[in-house]
Symmetry: C2
Subunit: 223 residues, 2 copies
């Protein structure tokens, strides 16, 4: 997989097995729908077991069994058991990539990125909406599980390189150094990460702050 630096394929699943992408976003198709369904079921099973028994004590066999598939099939959908716990983040990433497509190359990288992130965050404004709920749930789990935290970091790192390359292409090299691009992306990502963490922390403490607001004040604080 040469992976020619681009974030245009918002529906790629990173799964080696089936579904070799033929614009499934436009026409989901029956096979693709079944696939997503199975994927979702596996994730549900994984999250349930992780919550109940902890990540360490949960085996891939257990997840596969709970999801009604074989272990072999599990690994055709996810590369590791930790990955199965991150569907919410993959949705987030998909939204992010779509937003990045509409970026203005003549603007400041930092400002453009912040705008896109803020826009994506709006999808999580309502703490009771399903999207926000599942994101909160996973993040609560991540808070307690170092293995999941590491998996998320790894997931982000894998994506970061691709996104940075794509951003570099998009902004061109005219007057915008690689340092500047990397810096813009990493600092924005850091603010976002903190916003998520604080969101979850406060939610667990009973407060009902919403994500966009937290992000806004975090961005403020970061200057």
């Amino acid at each position: 997989m040469p992976q020619k630096s681009s974030f245009s394929d918002a529906s790629r699943t990173d799964v080696p097995g089936p579904s070799t992408a033929e614009l499934p976003a436009a026409a989901p198709g029956l096979r693709e729908r079944r696939r997503r369904q199975t994927r979702a079921e596996i994730s549900q099973a994984a999250l349930r077991l992780f919550q109940e028994y902890g990540v360490d004590a949960t085996t891939v066999d257990g997840i596969a069994n709970a999801a009604g598939i074989s272990q072999r099939t599990f690994f055709r959908y996810f590369t590791s058991k930790e990955e199965a716990a991150l569907p919410a983040h993959q949705d987030f990433d998909a939204a992010l990539e779509i937003g990045l497509l509409a970026i203005d190359p003549s603007g400041s990288p930092r400002e453009e990125l912040e705008r896109v992130y803020q826009q994506v965050m709006q999808g999580y404004a309502d703490n009771d909406a399903p999207q926000a709920r599942s994101m909160l749930l996973v993040n609560q789990l991540i808070r307690k599980e170092p293995l999941l935290r590491a998996a998320l970091l790894k997931h982000n790192a894998t994506r970061t390189t691709g996104l940075v390359d794509a951003l570099m292409d998009r902004f061109g090299r005219d007057g915008v150094s690689d340092l500047q691009i990397r810096l813009a992306f990493e600092t924005c990502a850091a603010v976002v990460r903190v916003a998520f963490e604080v969101w979850v922390t406060r939610r667990e403490a009973g407060r009902n702050d919403n994500l966009p607001d937290i992000y806004a004040s975090a961005r403020e604080l970061a200057h």
Copy 2:
């Protein structure tokens, strides 16, 4: 391991096995010295093999064999083969923790952190000094090896939680929100990460920029 949020033990090795810490920093002791020696030898062997055959193709057995120890003993020194490639970063972290001890709780978290980082970076100012050389070497390897990149992220993530907690204790909660602390740390760390990356990239491109300068300009760009 309760790990009561504190970065005072600069010599902890995170190894389950031997050396249950008895102020080895003050009095290295013969046993401790041997231990460090073995540790260094394992790392050397690991790095050599990683460079020659790649991380994937290198097995723990291979490393242990090259280092003249058993596989079982390897896992008493490192939790994974990837960890064995990060001694330079552990040195960096140790220096960082020492610096954090001298932090001024009445100052701005952001400024204090930046000061400490800058100070630690000074130790890598000379690109030909052994410290900088080994750091560069490892980072070049990390650039090409996703597995090592992931391991570093994981390593940092593990440390971050502890450091943030310690910083929170140090700055107290008086007027300094958790958001502010987390934010300061994450953004500083992001700038540092980028500085390292750019350092290595430019070095590979033949340029001889030194780390402190790159960090300074990165910090500048990040406002």
